[in-house]
């Protein structure tokens, strides 16, 4: 049936947030321990940044002045930025001399590092060429750029509730099914999108408010039901001051909807709405209902706003307790804070590190943390499109909606097991069991032992299965409707699992020439894909992406094991990682990737941090991640600890106001 295709409305897109290289492990380890205590749990202010951080910054700046500035002057600025006209290829270093650590330069530095390393720049025909030593220094310096950034939680950006959060919030506020928000348009995550509201959406917010109130309270004028009495209390007896009684209810409603105590001004506005109702003949409940509707279309409800306060003390302030409670509950639950969080916030205790950690643990154990898979997991694993994908029905008749649902549930159940069980992140790769029902078991060839529609935990004997790399949902989501794609799978492993950055295909991809095409007939997909690598434009990236994808060619486009490909030729799943490690089966590929637990953890930590903050990562965030990785390493990078670390981190608990 035609209707809104179900899709998640993520808070923030997770792609393209790859860090600028790495800090050498030794250096970050030393300083991380020193500043963990101060920077970590949000006690430090900008002014109180630790000495180690300042020292690192001074050292990075010194290197820039003494080694990098001459390099840029000698080899780069003639074409890239001596003045405004010298901006070839859109690259300019004109602004870099003053503020080399500026956020907008991050991508350019990264690109420069690659180009200098690969001898693409300076152009080979340029008269002046740097020595290998000079190149080496430049390449080594780029990962140090993060140290130029002073401690900074990032600019606070007003954000509105996304579609999922809005539906969940109505559920928790009014007891209605969150699908009441279903008619809102699906959303693209990303900065600058979630804080705009078009007239279409506003109109729908109003319509949904009307609808949700009808569902929760019954049609206007209907006799009071339980929900209504819970929200509005009993009507005051005749003769008493109804307005005063209503005022108390208004204040309580506003506190719930705004997720913080309302100001007197705000209450004043709401009382005028109450009076508007009364003046038009509405009774006590009718007027309160109008106030509740006003609350539901107020910016204070639709946006997550800080508590009103006197002008902030400095450019960087800790989040107030109520703001922190909201940030936390929308991060972990995609809904408003519950009574326990609000009570802690009222008491001013939520910001205490031990209280905050305890709350994160409690919230992860709560069923509402299922929102993390829908909000984060689906995005990270790139499963958002799977429900809407249409597989070729002739080739894959078994790909029914029920099977697709089971595939996604399998991923969900493993994800939740790892998050709630506080397992090491490497379990995403190496898990020895998985979850399936009968339709999914057919893909695994286990339909004899697993029957019925119920999803259950199943121990696996096959080393090629288990974990996300051998999981049908992932294998299907990285395929085309009618065939597998070694390239897509390779990119998926590099970007989603290992956090490597894969540049997009160049514009005007040159066609394989005619000779190639003639030869292309009767070749396997692998052989045809490998032709890309004969072309130097394609080769640089494809020689990295493709071999990983070939390792997963043993799985067809919906995740079944196979020995032969579509052309009937035997599958060649030999492959090689960028670092030269070789493998012959998916199981061996899994083992190689599982051995890179630190990379996986680092990648996940970066994506979690961006998701929690709803913004792209910037320079100082890299230092935050360094510290987090340091603290997680001792216990083998556990998922629950990682999330707790994010939720108690400096940028999560602070905001920059200017």
């Amino acid at each position: 049936m035609i209707g809104p295709m179900v899709s998640v409305a993520p808070r923030f897109r997770l792609s393209g947030i790859r860090a600028l290289g790495r800090a050498p492990a030794g250096l970050s380890a030393l300083v991380a321990l020193a500043c963990l205590a101060s920077a970590w749990h949000g006690r430090a202010s900008a002014a109180g940044e630790d000495k180690a951080g300042q020292a690192r910054r001074a050292a990075a700046m010194k290197t820039f002045r003494e080694q990098i500035t001459p390099f840029l002057n000698n080899y780069c600025v003639e074409c890239h930025g001596r003045n405004n006209r010298a901006k070839q290829g859109g690259v300019s270093f004109a602004g870099a001399f003053q503020r080399p650590g500026a956020g907008e330069l991050r991508k350019q530095w990264q690109l420069s590092m690659v180009n200098v390393k690969e001898h693409v720049m300076p152009p080979p025909d340029a008269a002046k060429q740097p020595t290998d030593e000079e190149r080496g220094k430049f390449i080594a310096w780029v990962p140090e750029i993060k140290y130029l950034n002073p401690q900074d939680p990032g600019l606070f950006v007003l954000r509105r509730l996304n579609k999922v959060e809005y539906g969940n919030t109505l559920r928790d506020l009014l007891g209605v099914d969150p699908s009441v928000a279903g008619k809102l348009p699906d959303e693209v995550p990303g900065e600058g999108y979630l804080n705009t509201i078009s007239p279409l959406q506003t109109e729908q917010f109003l319509a949904i408010a009307n609808e949700a109130l009808d569902i929760a309270l019954g049609p206007a004028g209907a006799p009071a039901n339980n929900a209504l009495e819970k929200l509005f209390g009993e009507a005051p007896p005749k003769g008493s001051d109804g307005r005063e009684a209503a005022g108390k209810v208004v204040r309580a409603l506003a506190r719930k909807a705004y997720r913080r105590p309302a100001t007197d001004d705000e209450i004043g506005v709401l009382m005028r709405v109450l009076d508007l109702g009364a003046a038009n003949g509405l009774d006590h409940h009718g007027s309160l209902r109008l106030v509740l509707k006003a609350l539901l279309v107020s910016p204070q409800f639709l946006f997550i706003t800080p508590a009103p306060s006197s002008p902030p003390a400095g450019p960087i302030v800790p989040l107030d307790d109520h703001h922190l409670a909201s940030r936390l509950s929308y991060f972990l639950w995609s809904t408003l804070p519950d009574a326990e969080l609000l009570a802690l916030a009222d008491a001013g205790k939520l910001r205490e590190p031990s209280a905050l950690r305890a709350q994160v643990r409690r919230m992860l154990a709560d069923p509402r943390s299922a929102a993390l898979f829908d909000g984060f997991g689906v995005q990270w694993l790139r499963l958002g499109g799977l429900k809407g994908m249409r597989f070729d029905p002739a080739k894959f008749p078994e790909m029914t909606p029920a099977l697709r649902m089971a595939m996604i549930d399998e991923a969900r159940m493993l994800f939740e097991e790892i998050v709630r069980g506080n397992l090491a992140v490497s379990a995403f790769i190496g898990s020895g069991h998985t979850y399936m029902n009968e339709s999914l078991a057919k893909l695994y060839g286990l339909e004899k032992t697993v029957t019925g529609p119920r999803m259950r935990k199943v121990r696996l004997q096959d080393a090629n299965r288990g974990g996300i790399l051998g999981m049908p949902a992932i294998l299907a989501a990285t395929s085309f409707p009618d065939r597998t794609s070694a390239v897509k799978r390779g990119v998926w492993v590099l970007e989603q699992v290992l956090g490597e950055h894969v540049p997009p295909a160049p514009a005007n991809v040159p066609a394989l020439d005619k000779q190639d095409r003639k030869d292309g007939k009767g070749l396997t997909l692998r052989q045809r894909t490998e032709m890309h690598r004969a072309n130097s434009v394609c080769a640089n990236c494809h020689k990295i992406m493709d071999p990983i994808g070939f390792g997963l060619e043993r799985f067809d486009a919906i995740g079944r094991w196979r020995d032969k490909d579509d052309s009937g030729a035997p599958i060649d799943s030999k492959g090689e990682m960028p670092d030269g490690k070789r493998f012959e089966t998916p199981g061996e590929l899994k083992a190689i990737i599982a051995s890179r637990g630190e990379d996986l953890a680092r990648n996940l930590a970066g994506k979690w941090l961006a998701y929690a903050l709803c913004r792209q990562l910037e320079g100082y965030d890299e230092i935050v991640l360094d510290q987090l990785m340091e603290s997680l390493a001792r216990d083998g990078y556990r998922m629950g600890d990682l999330i707790t670390g994010i939720a108690t981190s400096y940028p999560f608990t602070h905001r920059r106001v200017k």
Partner: protein, 459 residues
């Protein structure tokens, strides 16, 4: 047709298992002044999109002389209305440097803006108001809906091209440089939005009579919050408040129409439509996921919205650049994959088939408009309908000659039945269409430098 015969007319629409009551559409005539009939019907402007470009030798006419007698294969479905069509070759798209790796993120987002995203802000929406929204700002106050945005896929494609915000991938309509206009993808929701979902025959869009006053107070109450916010956030809040005001205006427009309808019913005011005008078309909401049916019901809704003058501006993203498939054409793979056909005849034939299919949906829409009487002519005579793509050749991502077809007379402003050559750009084209609609323009749209006068009838 007089109003008394239409009141209580129950249009019971039977799709498979669907029965919807159409409200009193006839009373939703042109709201020009005090119930007085405008001298001539208003001009409507509609855009329909297909991603990834065309097969050029199937799309471009051979020469101006044979355009009507021997149209290109891609336009076969438009043959019956070819005299009402106009094609122009030589309109180039926005050059996409420095975003050379982002051809698909830019095809839709530059289509109606003729502008590139701000390179200093690529991770955020920062582009320009689109031509449809410029038109809506001018004529939107006269209808209950300033503009209508339709699509057939969720606008949620996630792919990072050149670090550009992913919203660019699937949105063509921008209310301001920083604000996207999301589209409605569910036909039933569109119908509800246009005409309300009351089952009562003759009912108009329902709303709470106190909503306007309540929204007024909400807007006023936000000033305190506004003071506490940083400048950027204040702008965001203003956008929201502005959209609340738009809803308020819409309620006001509906109230005006209800008053008019009541007066007409009482025989006090004249009906706003000609007795010769066609009755509103029926909408059948299909069950199942056949692409042609889905695309067609959206076409029908577009026709109905224009016919009833519920809006005068629409954008319809027939599909977004994110891997739509066409199983009913016997084509299993993704549209995008085929467009990188590398000149293989077999693959090019598939792309040509997909293009002809998309154009046939557009043809279905404009032929419906041509069959509806309005005033002295047809609804199509008073429309400017543009079908197009943001790339010329999907194989190599060129944008030298953007493929597009204009259908409709634009209220007499367009000279149709011709194939022209021009040396112009996308911004020039949009300027021309807005000029045909009578929209005053105070600054060029994107890269525009002129109007394409040869397209217009007074040239």
């Amino acid at each position: 047709m007089t109003t008394s015969t239409t009141i209580g007319r129950r249009a019971c629409l039977k799709g498979v298992g669907v029965s919807l009551a159409l409200p009193l559409l006839d009373s939703l005539g042109w709201a020009a002044g005090q119930g007085s009939r405008p001298a001539k019907p208003p001009v409507r402007l509609g855009f329909m999109y297909m991603p990834h470009g065309v097969i050029m030798d199937q799309f471009w006419p051979k020469d101006p002389e044979t355009f009507l007698s021997d149209p290109p294969p891609a336009l076969e479905s438009l043959r019956p209305v070819l005299r009402r069509c106009l094609m122009v070759k030589g309109v180039s798209g926005v050059p996409i440097a420095p975003y050379n790796g982002g051809p698909h993120a830019l095809e839709l987002s530059t289509w109606l803006t003729a502008t590139l995203p701000n390179p200093k802000n690529r991770g955020k929406i920062d582009i320009a108001i689109s031509a449809d929204q410029i038109a809506a700002n001018h004529v939107g106050g006269q209808t209950s809906l300033p503009s209508l945005e339709l699509a057939t896929m969720p606008q949620t494609h996630k792919e990072n091209q050149e670090g550009l915000h992913e919203g660019y991938y699937s949105h063509c309509s921008y209310r301001s440089a920083t604000q996207v206009m999301p589209a409605e993808i569910n036909p039933r929701n569109v119908l509800n939005r246009l005409f309300g979902k009351s089952a009562k025959p003759g009912a108009l869009l329902r709303h709470d009579p106190l909503d306007r006053g309540m929204l007024d107070l909400v807007i006023g109450g936000a000033s305190d919050l506004r003071k506490r916010l940083a400048q950027d956030d204040q702008r965001k809040l203003d956008e929201y408040l502005d959209s609340v005001r738009a809803v308020e205006r819409r309620i006001a427009a509906i109230e005006d129409r209800q008053k008019d309808a009541a007066l007409q019913k009482a025989g006090i005011a004249p009906g706003s439509r000609d007795s010769s005008d066609s009755p509103p078309i029926e909408i059948k909401i299909p069950v199942g996921d056949k692409r042609s049916e889905y695309m067609r019901v959206m076409c029908d809704l577009n026709v109905l919205a224009f016919q009833t003058d519920t809006t005068r501006v629409s954008t319809y993203i027939g599909s977004t650049p994110n891997g739509v498939t066409y199983p009913e054409l016997g084509i299993a793979g993704e549209h995008h994959s085929y467009t990188h056909h590398q000149n293989r005849a077999e693959t090019m034939a598939k792309v040509a088939g997909i293009t002809a299919f998309n154009i046939s949906q557009f043809a279905y829409m404009v032929k419906r408009m041509a069959a509806l009487k309005e005033g002295e002519g047809t609804l199509l005579d008073n429309c400017i309908m543009m079908w197009g793509s943001g790339l010329e050749d999907g194989n190599s991502h060129t944008r030298q000659n953007l493929p597009f077809i204009i259908a409709g007379g634009g209220g007499g402003s367009l000279r149709t039945g011709r194939f022209l050559s021009a040396n112009a750009n996308q911004g020039d084209l949009l300027m021309t269409l807005l000029a045909c609609m009578g929209v005053p323009i105070d600054r060029p749209i994107g890269i525009a430098t002129k109007r394409i006068d040869a397209m217009m009838s007074n040239s």
